[in-house]
Symmetry: C2
Subunit: 128 residues, 2 copies
């Protein structure tokens, strides 16, 4: 399943932040972004877009290895095993883009952004 739908979409609509992991030379490299920023740019079907302020190390990592993982979670979404709270692990390929239509769109909404982190979703798994 590579589409952001049903449960995972609900979690993306509710998560306060997004944890983003790429592979660095020295090991995993984790950064964050705000759920609100992702939602401002729209939770698309198979793509997620984030404003990129710095993300220099993430960019360098993605150039060597474009595998990327995102974790989103919210207590506001009903859990798949009952109880409040659902997480979602989103895996795919990522890139930092610094020009083009998408970047113009990002910069129009986030003046401080130097570009966009674009995630091409390949797999979605529920967690928590």
């Amino acid at each position: 399943m590579n589409k952001i739908e049903t449960v995972c979409r609900n979690v993306c609509e509710a998560t306060e932040f997004v944890a983003i992991v790429t592979m660095g030379e020295g090991g995993p490299y984790m950064v964050g972004n705000w759920g609100e920023y992702m939602r401002t740019l729209g939770v698309r079907e198979t793509t997620l877009v984030f404003p990129a302020g710095r993300y220099r190390q993430t960019e360098e990592n993605l150039r060597r290895n474009d595998r990327i993982q995102l974790l989103v979670a919210s207590k506001k979404v009903q859990g798949s095993r009952g109880g409040a709270g659902q997480g979602c692990l989103i895996s795919g390929r990522g890139e930092i883009v610094t020009s083009g239509e998408l970047v113009d769109e990002v910069k129009a909404k986030f003046a401080w952004a130097r570009g966009a982190l674009v995630v091409h979703v390949e797999e979605v798994q529920t967690q928590l």
Copy 2:
């Protein structure tokens, strides 16, 4: 700085979830836990404790390489560069323990837990 203090403590007290990354054989491996669960067990000075339900892959990863990273974030905490929202990346060494006093404490609060994920904090950095 290896102590959970000031800004990072505030973020730990507010974060809705915690993203947890270890190094697997095939790349970074990310799981989640709830901030509320971490807080129930107490945000200590240099140690964080989480109830471990499954975490089999995390356990295997930590046996090979005990480096672990956590990301916490909340819009409720004032950001270090102004504006609402602060993140915090916590790095250290982790282990899954399945017996002993600490595990008894975890199981008393989380009957479903098979043990505890214990994180020995070595570095704390603000993010976001």
